[in-house]
């Protein structure tokens, strides 16, 4: 009898706890990204806003402090992953972290490796620095959006609310790092 009552109480509490965790804003972003294709790995979902999942709400591991994707322009103008590019991110408390892009152009700094990150941030991919600050979002893909129907530039994704994806703009002076995992 007591066990039945306990089971009913637990069953009643479960939807309540799930309901408290639900946040419509990040949830909509996650839902709009669509289902995973294949097995999640360090090279999955290039160009997407990594921290919507790799953060407290999304719960994917590892949690990131900063993460994104760097592209190059191919000879035909299309976007290709920029592999083995140094990404340097500096924060407002003189903190600095370096990351290297992998085979998909993805890079990340784990939250455990930058617990005291202090916004705003500045970032540099290869020799190309950002013109603006990063105010509060460690996902590069939240602002550097992939092309969609609202983009003014259908290749880079640049538009009213996005400078487009990050393009490294390699030069002869580019310093490669051991990426490609």
């Amino acid at each position: 009898m007591r066990a039945t009552a306990l089971a009913i109480a637990l069953a009643a509490a479960l939807p309540l706890s799930v309901g408290c965790r639900y946040d419509p804003v990040p949830q909509k972003i996650i839902d709009d990204l669509g289902p995973e294709v294949g097995t999640p790995s360090a090279t999955h979902r290039p160009g997407e806003p990594c921290l919507v999942c790799h953060d407290n709400y999304g719960g994917a591991t590892p949690a990131f402090a900063v993460a994104g994707t760097v592209f190059d322009r191919a000879m035909d103008g299309s976007l290709v992953p920029s592999v083995g590019i140094n990404v340097i991110v500096s924060d407002s408390a003189s903190g600095l972290r370096k990351a290297c892009t992998n085979a998909a152009g993805n890079f990340f700094v784990k939250r455990d490796d930058w617990v005291d990150i202090t916004f705003p941030l500045n970032a540099q991919a290869d020799n190309r620095g950002m013109s603006s600050l990063i105010g509060r979002d460690g996902s590069c893909g939240s602002c550097h959006k992939l092309p969609d129907r609202t983009s003014e530039d259908p290749i880079t994704g640049a538009g009213h609310g996005s400078p487009g994806v990050i393009i490294a703009g390699r030069t002869a002076a580019s310093s490669a790092c051991p990426g490609g995992m």
């Binding site: 804003v25 916004f119 705003p120 013109s131 603006s132 600050l133 990063i134 105010g135 509060r136 979002d137 939240s142 602002c143 003014e152 530039d153 640049a158 538009g159 009213h160 609310g161 996005s162 400078p163 487009g164």
Partner: protein
């Protein structure tokens, strides 16, 4: 006619006339609030001189990034070259310089955070400015997801406070430009 239908129709007509009577002319009335110097905010010289970087330019860079007040998901939406662009234009983030229309929209956005309080601050030449949400949040006194933006006495703080105090463009702009120098 069905008597029940007639009663319902009469009741609805009575409710409709009462509702419109309650609203009356006030339904379309507007109220005007003052806001501190437009010129000091926009950087557009009131005597027709060259434009200078002022409060809007500082706020665009420091507050209006795409992940903060340059996001369509946030209140006090700020537009600018490196952030959100005027949707009525063809401009892209990082492209053409901030337009006059965008600066005007920034002025409206900032003035309309607390219209009544802003009106009061404009009337008392900034004596009540420190109670404004915009300054409280920028200083980190009030909860602010973006944290502390300006510390008291720094050029960024002087830029905002000078404008709210009603200082002239020539006095406000140097503070804003000094603050921009560190960004």
């Amino acid at each position: 006619m069905n008597p029940r239908f007639a009663i319902v129709a009469v009741l609805l007509a009575a409710i409709a006339s009462l509702a419109s009577g309650c609203l009356g002319a006030d339904a379309t009335a507007t109220q005007t609030f003052k806001c501190p110097s437009r010129a000091s905010f926009t950087g557009e010289s009131p005597d027709g001189g060259a434009d200078v970087l002022a409060v809007s330019a500082f706020m665009e860079r420091r507050c209006g990034t795409l992940d903060c007040h340059g996001s369509t998901l946030r209140p006090m939406r700020l537009l600018g070259k490196f952030g959100l662009r005027d949707p009525a234009s063809k401009n892209i983030t990082g492209g053409a310089p901030t337009t006059h229309e965008e600066i005007d929209q920034n002025y409206s956005a900032v003035c309309n955070v607390e219209p009544e309080q802003m009106d009061k601050a404009a009337a008392d030449f900034g004596q009540s400015a420190e109670k404004l949400l915009i300054l409280q949040k920028a200083r980190g006194v009030e909860g602010h997801k973006g944290g502390t933006i300006v510390a008291q006495g720094t050029p960024g703080d002087d830029c905002l406070l000078g404008w709210l105090r009603g200082d002239k463009l020539a006095d406000v702009a140097p503070h804003c430009q000094a603050a921009l120098g560190g960004l």
